[in-house]
């Protein structure tokens, strides 16, 4: 167990370990100079490049009657119009189920591409796309969760998790309430839209540059659509300009279009969605509907919960099943639910296929349970934070799916430390005084906790591979299966490799992620990128270090265990004698010792019985808590976040600058989801908010001026690489404190009782909630 401070102290004056150091992003210099390349930066230098533009359907659901591309074919600059007839393999890109035709005979969402024009310039392709005559026979669409339930339009069977006897406990409970909550979706709005660039390489195989979180799956889908073995397709991802889950499965179709056209035309083909296309064609965070009945004591302790969760999966299955499962796994957040039954089902609608998004269903499950606890608190007239505390897991407790809550004591510890450091109690009384004197503006401070399970809930994804190469001059290339989307994975991996080999960071080069270096990789997702890939890289580096140690030990006439690797040298512990890392490498080469190694890591002891709804799906939990203060204006419902305090558990931070960035960025992204980011579809199923001018993610103006973030100390996680914890997703859910603060402020305009607040809580939603609070007493 150690934190960054301890590590530095342990090696005083000599060698500051690379792991645990607050280093800048591995590509930061490239970012700030514009030199860092992304997929769509690569085409200007390609000769004979062709550009693609989609022909899209103006219906949410329709039969494709005909596609007449003759006028477009003859237009200036047009190479071809791709249709289903051009597919040499299978006309399908579905990642989970084969239910996503690339060129559909039935349109399943508004704006779905039915053909692609390929031309010498983007302009020509765009112009010619309007010349393609496609005719449709409209069919009645399903455009909401409620509608899907009525029509029994589902993508999955009912999933169930159950503990105890919720029906009996409900009857026995002294208090009961029921309700429902609709939770809106969220556009990823990665700044870099979906992009792929494909060409036939020197060996007549397909090479695809793709902005994908999952190169292996992109390779698989491209191979499927082309009808070739996977070894004839290489996919590379240099880096992504953001992904957040939106490029876990949904990069595949564009890569397939580019590959298909590149193969057909024998020229490089570029597919890059405009922002409007990207927003209209790709899936988002799932909207959810939660219906709940809850029984509770006079103190607000839950004894019974019956919860139904429905998600809008959109037109195809995609990842809806594991996303729904994660929502069900996280409907407890930090609370012992007592007797509980949770049912979940994914609805099939004529929306885009909703997909992975930071938190992967977990946030929706947690918003529901926080909603329930707030309603319980207001029904009883007890402060919500008190009701939360009374329901916390305690050491030894098990979740509703039968996994022991490892490190459960951290919930109360973090809560207590944050309450103290944020002056929660004092500030709440200051706020009460402010509110008493302020009729039109109210403030509120609310605090919520986070517990998030780490691992893919599909056990076999929890593996990773690495390939590490040492060259004769001692410089190192690291290949691993993870992709860089801004989360700092490459930074952490570089630190892990440098630490393992005792090298400065500059000696370790992280290579672009390619399917011909490490095969059969999992998506970089589930916050597990550095846990899995970092561990695999460390395994490979330790293998190499062992080989070099053997060579060096022979030179020094000592045992390999007596050597230390640091500062680019290998030291013999007792004498202070040393040799340069590069000299040891040369020596090893001359002795015909292999200087490359693979590493593989698989997370141990994961299992889950889907039939029983029990098991140990998670390797461990990440914890945190946030206290958010808001000021709400009753004239308009507009609000400002004044101060946010966060205490978050990242284990022993491998890279504090990266981790803090994940915590802050995750919080603000969650804040956007719960406040200003509103997806609006028209009655015909067209997305009305398909652009930056209509869909409002947070700007600087939405951020609290006073933003205090601390990482939990003494938090090492023994089962994970360097004692660290996953950090990508968990902080997003800290933003639930902002929603609860808004609700508290709304309630301050009224006279008590249950206070409903729509989600997202746009200024309009807050406005109406205030109007309701002022005129009625809810209960």
């Amino acid at each position: 167990m150690s934190d960054a401070g301890c590590r530095a102290e342990g090696a005083k004056g000599e060698w500051e370990p690379v792991v645990g150091r607050a280093v800048s992003h591995e590509s930061a210099d490239g970012h700030v100079t514009g030199r860092a390349r992304y997929v769509d930066d690569l085409w200007p230098s390609l000769p004979r490049l062709a550009h693609a533009w989609p022909v899209t359907a103006p219906h949410a659901r329709a039969r494709v009657v005909s596609i007449d591309a003759s006028a477009a074919q003859n237009a200036a600059g047009v190479s071809c119009v791709l249709t289903a007839a051009d597919v040499t393999g299978e006309n399908d890109t579905g990642p989970a189920r084969h239910d996503e035709p690339l060129f559909p005979s039935e349109v399943s969402y508004h704006g779905q591409p039915v053909a692609w024009v390929i031309a010498d310039s983007e302009d020509e392709a765009r112009r010619a796309s309007s010349l393609v005559r496609a005719t449709f026979e409209p069919l009645p669409p399903v455009l909401s969760i409620e509608h899907a339930i009525r029509e029994q339009s589902f993508l999955t069977d009912v999933e169930r998790m159950r503990r105890g006897k919720p029906e009996e406990a409900m009857l026995a409970a002294p208090n009961r309430l029921e309700g429902e909550l609709f939770i809106g979706g969220q556009e990823h709005f990665y700044l870099e839209t979906q992009a792929a660039l494909a060409w036939v390489d020197e060996s007549e195989a397909l090479f695809v540059q793709s902005s994908t979180q999952h190169p292996t799956e992109t390779q698989e889908i491209v191979a499927r659509v082309l009808g070739v073995p996977k070894n004839e397709v290489v996919v590379q991802c240099l880096r992504m300009g953001g992904a957040f889950g939106g490029k876990e499965t949904q990069a595949n179709a564009w890569a397939a279009v580019a590959a298909l056209a590149a193969k057909k035309l024998s020229r490089p083909v570029r597919v890059r969605l405009t922002r409007a296309q990207d927003m209209a064609m790709t899936g988002k965070r799932h909207p959810f509907l939660g219906r709940f009945r809850v029984g509770f004591s006079n103190e607000g302790v839950l004894s019974a919960l019956k919860l139904e969760l429905y998600c809008d999966g959109g037109w195809s299955l995609d990842l809806s099943a594991p996303i729904l499962a994660r929502a069900m796994f996280h409907a407890d957040n930090c609370y012992l639910l007592g007797n509980v039954e949770i049912l979940g089902r994914a609805c099939r609608t004529n929306h885009v296929s909703h997909t992975a998004f930071r938190g992967f269903g977990g946030p929706q499950g947690m918003v529901v349970v926080e909603e329930i606890l707030d309603r319980v608190a207001r029904r009883l007239g007890v402060p919500a934070h008190t009701v939360r505390e009374r329901n916390f897991y305690r050491p030894g407790d098990e979740t509703h799916y039968g996994q022991e809550v490892k490190d459960a004591e951290r919930i109360a510890r973090i809560w207590g430390e944050l309450k103290e450091s944020s002056r929660f109690v004092q500030r709440r009384s200051e706020i009460a005084a402010f509110n008493a004197a302020s009729p039109h503006t109210k403030r509120a401070l609310a605090m919520t906790p986070v517990k998030f399970g780490i691992s893919f809930t599909t056990a076999f994804y929890n593996q990773a591979g690495a390939l590490v190469l040492i060259y004769k001059d001692g410089s190192v290339q690291v290949n691993h299966g993870g992709t860089e989307m801004g989360q700092g994975l490459h930074t952490k991996v570089q630190q892990i490799a440098a630490e393992a080999l005792g090298l400065p960071l500059s000696a370790v080069r992280i290579m672009p992620t390619r399917t011909d270096k490490v095969p059969n990789t999992s998506a970089t997702a589930a916050s597990s990128g550095s846990d899995l890939n970092g561990a695999a890289v460390r395994v490979a580096c330790e293998t190499l270090r062992g080989r070099l140690a053997a060579v060096a030990a022979e030179t020094f006439g000592t045992q390999p265990e007596a050597l230390t690797f640091r500062n680019g040298r290998i030291y013999r512990g007792d004498t202070g004698a040393s040799m340069a890392f590069g000299d040891a490498v040369t020596q090893a080469y001359l002795e015909r010792v292999s200087l490359f190694a693979t590493g593989h890591y698989a997370t141990p002891n994961l299992h889950f019985d889907k039939q029983k709804g029990t098991g140990k799906p998670f390797h461990y939990f990440a914890f945190g808590a946030a206290a958010t203060e808001v000021e709400v204006d009753a004239w308009t419902g507009q609000y400002r976040f004044l101060r946010v305090d966060i205490l978050h558990d990242v284990g022993d931070s491998m890279s504090p600058l990266v981790d803090r960035g994940q915590v802050e960025g995750g919080f603000i992204q969650g804040l956007g989801w719960l406040t200003t980011e509103e997806l609006v579809w028209s009655a015909k199923g067209a997305l009305q908010t398909a652009g930056a001018s209509t869909y409002k993610l947070p700007t600087l103006g939405e951020c609290p001026d006073d933003f205090r973030v601390e990482l939990l100390k003494r938090a090492g996680e023994p089962g994970v690489v360097h004692g660290s914890k996953a950090v990508g997703e968990p902080p997003l859910m800290l933003a639930i404190s902002a929603r609860e603060a808004l609700r508290e402020a709304v309630a301050a305009f009224g006279s008590g009782g249950v206070t409903e607040l729509a989600c997202p809580s746009t200024p309009e939603a807050v406005f109406w909630a205030i109007e309701r609070a002022r005129t009625t007493r809810g209960d």
Binding site: H25, T33, A692, L700, P763
Partner: protein, 483 residues
Amino acid sequence: MTLRFVLNGAPVTVGPDRPGAGLDPHVTLLQWLRASGKTGSKEGCAEGECGACAVAFVGADAEGRARFEPVNSCLVPLWTVNGRNVVTVEGIAGPGGELHPVQEAMVQRGGSQCGYCTPGFVVSLFCEYYRPGRAGYDPESISGNLCRCTGYRPIADVARALPYPPADDPWLATLGEPPLPPAAVDSYDSPGPARFERPLTLTRAFECLAECPGAVLMAGGTDLMVYANQRYERWPMLIALDGIAELGRYEETPGEIVIGAGVALSQIEERLAAKHHGELASLEALLPLFSSRLIRNRATLGGGLATASPIGDSAPVLLVLDASVTIASAAGSRRVALSEFFLDYRKTVLGSGDVIVSVHLPRPTPRWQRFYKVSKRVMDDISTVAGAFALDRDSDGKVERLRVAYGGIAATPLRARAVERMAVGRPWTGETIALLARVLEGVGTPMSDHRGSGAYRRAVAGKLLERFFFETSEGPRAAEVRP
């Protein structure tokens, strides 16, 4: 005709005979930069909302001194850079690749994660670093750039801790020279499917309009180019007005303040900040809320009025200030009260040969003024409802004159005349406001859309009137003239 400009210190020429460099007037600077391999500038939205495409123009402040102005290159037609000096993210580091102080600070503080928005932030910070008269942290300097990864805190920290340039900073030499004057673009000799003109006089603009019936006028282009990018609208001729000196004047006389229709909003802001003390408080309140600085460096009052957006924020403010506009055509010029200017949805009194020359604000301006913007976001958003209010009271405290105008509750920006009339001569009291609120209920035809419901717009329009009363009636807050 060949296009000439300075890019990152080196002269660039773009001509019709250069392969890949089209002369289509709809091509934006961003598209050209990226196709030419300068891919540091990114396209995040193609509608001026995200700032990932930000580049710096060497422009002039109100006094004519050179300065760096960040603009969204996705909304700038390539042709409008003719004669300009442009700096992109690729040009900011030193000749040996040494990072500029704003780049170094972004690296050190963790200001980039995925890096896609970073070039835009670097350009915005670079411009702020050299902004004359900069005193301390100005959130406006980066509020037009969207970041989806960091949550802004580290980038705001960079802006908070910006040092001042040392005297030997090489960029100060660039700023020491007078900015290049706008160069004309005359596309007579480059026949093509569409033409681009940048006349330097109104007379020449009228000639262009007469030559091409479908020609469109472009002031800053911050609205027009969105249509080109998003809807692929194409015009036979684009006439850029940003080189016409007559549209750039700013004058104050005892009777009125005259703002040229082509003066960039950021310049108006500077003028107001330098000279006024609440005389145009509602306009001052509006400008930072209108849009990001990246937009305000290009957008103009004339352009905003001519597009006649029903939710354009400037119209309600100008309406309550009793503005009028001078409209010129080849036949002569005329003055039209702004309250008579808007006819219907996106329709105005402007004829096909008309150009708005200036906006006139009569003096003295109203004693009490407010502008309120209701939107999902505080910064960089389009209004759900915008409300402007202006009030003068007589010596007895009775209402002498009330002006009430809204955006977002009708097909055009709207003055609530019935409310204004009802108020005259009444005491400024809660009873009067209750009466006015009832009258207001019959004003406008608010619609439901993705920004908000009709019911919300209706309700908030009334609340804003109440809020104006709350902030201007007797009591502790009455003394505040400025919002």
